[in-house]
Symmetry: C2
């Protein structure tokens, strides 16, 4: 199946680059509301499914045992920029479980946000695992293991009981089988699975509606999504897409990005969830797609719709501030 | 016309992202040696054509008047990383023409290379126009204007005589008409034109062979390309693709990247030139394509071929150094 061109990047009067993509919107029953491109082939979920991976932290009672509030839960679902607040909060989560950064198995990297990287470069010799964009998720993993009684060391491994718990949780939510055949290793070393976008969207539709979920999972799902919507800075960071999206209409939009052009969103009031993937893995296109796809579900006259469409169709300026072109979504998103 | 998938990015056993692209290899007469995808539609040349834009600097006598050697000419053709050596050399070029950084109209930006950015952040408050990746090209422009007697101020404008000279030079080389209809504004504020990849490749084939060029242009072209091949660090920088490519087989490969997934190369010994564009504008794919396309033209048993193919098919490691997948070129580049 040929994925349509969903995003165009213009310069002057011409199109300079084109992105193809696929996407789907479903309700809590899994009924397709709208779809484009190939939504049945495997897509690596990457960080888009972090809220699913955080369910054991809540369902096991670890979050309550360590007194985690919205901020900590948001960080457990985050791909953060490594700003000082993110780093400090991850450290304090580990401390509540009597651990420290040495327990983290995610590796270390400088911030991918330029402003944050400049600050980091000026204030430290090198980044630690706490600066890794996944340090909140990993701190959540460490806390879950510590509370449940799993050995913490090796928690990133495919065969570790925590990863088996996460696998079972995600299979149940998405309806997709997860195993060695559709498994890869993520940037932070945990297993990442490739499943159809349809399953990813349906999983989030279940989480946001509670439909088809046992009460404990429905409650944990709602708690995690509400935490992210209440503390959007802790899900990403300053000027980041997830943070800005959840600030557009507080409590009405849950959103989470993943590497290689994946993005999910859920709309509690509409009982819908959606997932997109840019075929070529480019973030700018995944962002434009999810902005427009969310906008479709708000009244055209509303400020929310207009703000989202202004984010989807973005003007580009050069180093002198001159308007040189635009990133714009195509009709494929409005068929 | 449907552009083929030319580069795949894998994770585990599966393909995670796919890039489509187009490309062409031609000889000095413009005869097609190999082509894939749409090579007849307009592609913004961006920085891939900097060696063409530097021709007036040499042809006008400015380069000789200011005593420019290989290093300065390489920097005039460069998209450099803003390393200390690049910045100092651009400043010294301007000084020879009695100017300074205040004459540059390219705007300022931090380095896009992480290691260089960290160094810049630790040693200065903010970047200047000398740190702009185009500062060597712009210093060449300023020197050309100063030598010829054009007013320097406004040299980036479409109607400035320098830009008219560049336009005429590029029209003659590429055989494409350049005007307001296929013009956009580049990141550094000068005009950028969209022309078929075929014309771009043919222009560089003329430059590398001298075929069909007046003697003064043939000599200037050879001088610029030889300067780049002799001083590859000054064309890009540490660990950058253009620099590494020209170091693989010194004197045998000229290469220059451009924003939004454009790349050109020329092979003096074979009398060939080539140009590629990644449809979605992604650098990793443009690099893989040009590496493989150059490799095609070296004997399969040679170290040059093997080094280039090892650059084209690249292993990716995560923050813990674990192999997670590969960037690999497809059969579309070897049809």
């Amino acid at each position: 199946m040929q994925n349509p061109v969903t995003v165009e990047v213009t310069r002057g009067k011409l199109v300079e680059s084109r992105h193809r993509g696929m996407g789907i919107v479903v309700d809590g029953d899994g009924k397709t509301v709208f779809a484009f491109g190939d939504v049945e082939s495997g897509v690596f979920l990457r960080s888009a499914c972090k809220a699913m991976q955080a369910l054991p932290l809540v369902e096991s009672g670890a979050a309550d045992a360590y007194g985690f509030a919205d901020r900590q839960l948001a960080l457990a679902c985050a791909s953060h920029s490594g700003e000082d607040e993110h780093v400090a909060l991850a450290a304090s989560m580990l401390e509540r479980a009597g651990r420290d950064a040495s327990a983290l198995e995610c590796g270390a990297h400088w911030s991918s946000d330029q402003t944050t990287l400049i600050h980091q470069a000026r204030t430290r010799d090198r980044p630690t695992a706490l600066h890794n964009n996944c340090s909140g998720k990993h701190s959540g993993f460490v806390c879950t293991c510590a509370h449940v009684g799993y050995e913490v060391e090796g928690y990133v491994g495919y065969d570790h009981p925590l990863q088996a718990d996460i696998r079972a949780t995600m299979e149940s939510l998405t309806g997709a089988a997860l195993g060695h055949d559709n498994c890869g290793i993520d940037g932070c070393s945990i297993p990442s699975y490739a499943i159809p976008l349809r399953g990813l969207a349906h999983g989030f539709a279940k989480m946001v509606t509670g439909q088809g979920l046992e009460p404990i999972r429905a409650k944990a799902s709602r708690r995690l999504m509400e935490a992210c919507m209440a503390e959007p800075f802790y899900v990403a960071g300053t000027k980041r897409a997830c943070t800005k999206l959840m600030q557009v209409a507080p409590g009405k939009i849950f959103a989470k990005t993943g590497a290689e052009g994946v993005f999910v969103a859920a709309l509690p009031e509409q009982g819908l969830a959606m997932a997109v993937k840019c075929e070529d893995g480019t973030t700018r296109a995944a962002e434009a797609m999810i902005f427009a796809l969310i906008a479709r579900h708000f009244d055209k006259a509303s400020e929310t719709h207009q703000t989202l469409m202004a984010m989807a169709n973005k003007s580009m300026r050069n180093w002198n501030g001159i308007h040189v072109g635009d990133i714009r979504v195509t009709d494929a998103l409005f068929a």
